[in-house]
């Protein structure tokens, strides 16, 4: 078996604020193989984005990776200093951000922003860098890329800007792309175009991908594997069919239940009662226990560890649903 491109083990990223330590990510593990798409799902504040930024090494104080290991192609990158990390960023590791209106610098032309990304890692002439940018733009489906290259970001639509951002991410054919809700700010038709585009590019180039989203329907069509995060931890992780069709964790089940298309017409949407706990004050037991219909005394006292289940997935629950249903 080939080694996964990215292995994250027991990652913990905490924010040391005046109000106390916020454990945004607390013991997260997952891995992504070449050409594989891992979808990380969870609601706001579940630690999805912080996980992504931790991998990129872009956690700023008061945040800090306190423990765990992140290996890219088997090499540990958490201990690297800023200068070494910079050589990896943008080259082996690329990131696409949520809001395409904000990721491109409004006062710099597209060519400036793309060529600098090429020159940051490769010692080539500006002319060569330019033709590589044109190539990347046409790869993501931007018409007449040579002319568009000398435009400013405000002359592009949101979808086009996101394509530019994806083109920048693809410039160095990275091993891994972290996509932090890249289609959330786009309308549905553009979203599906971009999804199809990204899927095709990943398959062609063998790039692994971590796709962070709160939209289950996006990962359903895109991801190979899925990791559900809740309150800074992965509560369920496994192949996408297994997790979506046969969720073991009550939280995953609740998420799927709250997707509009899963509900019968004319009925109220089923929602998960309560709200996400404050990350500064987590209960000693399972973080989901206060909102869980299946909670027991054990859940209140002991935090469930994540462990393998029968279907090739892992779940962190004392009372996984398959057993709860059986009993």
């Amino acid at each position: 078996m080939t080694r996964p491109v990215l292995e994250v083990e027991n990652l913990a990223t905490h924010f040391f604020t005046r109000e106390g330590v916020v454990k945004a990510v607390d013991g997260v593990s997952f891995s992504v193989g070449a050409g594989e798409v891992l979808g990380i799902v969870g609601e706001s504040g579940s630690g999805k984005s912080v996980s992504g930024f931790s991998i990129m090494g872009l956690i700023d104080p008061p945040g800090k990776i306190v423990s765990g290991s992140i290996r890219l192609n088997g090499e540990e990158i958490t201990a690297r200093d800023e200068a070494t990390m910079r050589k990896v960023r943008g080259k082996d590791l690329a990131m696409i951000f949520q809001d395409p209106m904000m990721t491109l610098n409004p006062v710099l032309r597209i060519d400036t922003q793309m060529i600098e990304a090429v020159l940051a890692h490769d010692n080539v002439s500006e002319q060569a860098a330019r033709s590589r940018c044109i190539e990347a733009l046409s790869m993501v489906g931007i018409p007449s890329p040579a002319e568009r290259l000398v435009a400013y970001p405000h002359q592009f639509s949101g979808g086009m800007r996101q394509r530019v951002a994806i083109a920048i991410a693809l410039l160095h054919r990275p091993k891994l792309i972290i996509a932090d809700e890249p289609t959330t700010a786009l309308d549905v038709t553009i979203q599906s175009q971009i999804l199809a585009e990204v899927q095709k590019l990943c398959a062609e180039t063998g790039t692994a991908m971590v796709w962070i989203t709160h939209d289950l329907s996006v990962v359903a069509g895109l991801a190979d594997r899925i990791a559900v995060m809740y309150a800074g931890r992965v509560v369920e992780e496994g192949p996408v069919e297994r997790v979506l069709e046969n969720p073991q964790h009550p939280y995953t089940n609740g998420l799927i239940g709250s997707v509009p298309s899963a509900n019968p017409m004319g009925q109220r949407l089923r929602q998960i009662p309560g709200s996400t706990p404050s990350l500064g004050r987590l209960p000693p037991g399972c973080a989901f226990e206060p909102r869980c219909a299946f909670a027991s005394d054990l859940c209140r006292q002991q935090r469930p560890a994540i462990g393998p289940d029968s279907g090739g997935a892992r779940v962190a629950c004392h009372h996984p649903l398959s057993r709860a249903r059986a009993s």
Partner: protein, 325 residues
């Protein structure tokens, strides 16, 4: 771009016209200038004669049109005190003032910008806190007092720099300047620093808040994700964004540098038009005052025009707005 410039020039001309009206009626209501022009023991006939000579006997609107005609020809009358053409006297002194203001502006950017960007990047660093405390002092201390302290310290106690005057000047392309000799720089250093102090503080504050705001933006994080060096991120991505407000404010402040130079020029005996104005006000030399006001108006209008054009060069979105209109 051309349409943008033409529209701004037209707006500028309107401002100048409005100012001509204000200046004329402002001086008209101040009082009869004849009393300042004739000797105290003049007879009624002599007064009437002077009045006719200068056209003060004509109705207001005729006088106004004559005034406008004179202004259009660049004619503001003769100075009562110096006897020469008022505008000529002002223009003679203008290079010295502009030179002082320009050097002060350069000081403001060269000193203020790096300090402000540093304070913005590392807001909790002790040096950053010192810079910010210093900028509050720069804002609060009165110019004349700082000027006197500078003279006291650098000229009297240390004896490093001359306290007064402009020093030797050389003529380049018909403009007298003291910036080509070391001696000239020694003379200009103190007054320019004095004049610049307020602007340095202003630039520090603008650069700091701009940097703090910009460094939290997604485009900075994205630039880091691309693997760019901090030098490039700060020097290109952040700096180009924070320069927009700084250029705007500094452009407008250049006018106030010229205006503030009245105080600095007086303290350092700098032979500029600010010093001339103060002397003219003391002696009620009206043509000189009018000429000074008109020159300053023109200066402000021109500066605003240049700022607008620069602004559109810095921020592509301004250009687009002009195109769509």
């Amino acid at each position: 771009m051309l349409a943008f410039i033409i529209r701004r020039v037209a707006q500028a001309l309107f401002v100048v016209l409005a100012m001509v009206i204000i200046v004329f009626f402002g001086t008209y209501v101040v009082g009869d200038p004849v009393w300042m022009m004739v000797p105290g023991d003049a007879t009624q006939d002599q007064i009437e004669q002077v009045r006719r000579e200068f056209g003060f006997d004509k109705p207001v609107h005729v006088q106004f049109l004559l005034f406008v005609a004179d202004v259009l020809q660049g004619e503001f009358g003769r100075s009562y005190v110096h006897g020469g053409s008022a505008i000529g006297l002002i223009l003679d002194r203008m290079p010295a003032t502009l030179e002082l203001a320009l050097v002060a502006l350069i000081f403001a950017v060269v000193i203020g910008l790096p300090l402000g960007v540093f304070a913005g990047l590392k807001p909790d660093h002790p040096a950053a806190r010192t810079i910010m405390a210093g900028s509050i002092l720069g804002f609060s201390l009165p110019t004349f007092w700082v000027g006197l302290m500078l003279i006291m310290f650098f000229s009297v106690m240390l004896g490093w720099l001359p306290a007064t005057g402009r020093g030797p000047t050389t003529t380049v392309l018909g403009i007298e300047t003291s910036l080509l000799t070391l001696k000239g720089w020694q003379h200009i250093a103190l007054p320019a620093l004095n004049l610049a102090l307020l602007k340095i503080s202003l630039v520090i504050r603008l650069a700091r808040s701009g940097t703090r705001e910009a460094s939290l933006q997604d485009y900075v994080k994205f630039a880091r994700a691309k693997g760019l060096s901090p030098k490039r991120i700060v020097g290109v991505h952040i700096l180009k964004n924070i320069m927009i407000p700084i250029v705007t404010v500094l452009g407008l402040e250049f006018g106030s540098l010229v205006a503030f130079s009245v105080v600095t020029e007086t303290i350092f005996a700098w032979p500029g038009m600010g010093k001339l104005l103060l002397e003219s006000i003391q002696r009620l030399d009206r043509p000189l005052i009018v000429a000074y006001v008109m020159v300053v108006v023109l200066l402000f209008v021109t500066i605003n025009l240049i700022v607008d054009i620069l602004y559109s060069a810095l921020d592509p979105r301004v250009r687009l707005a002009g195109k769509n209109e």
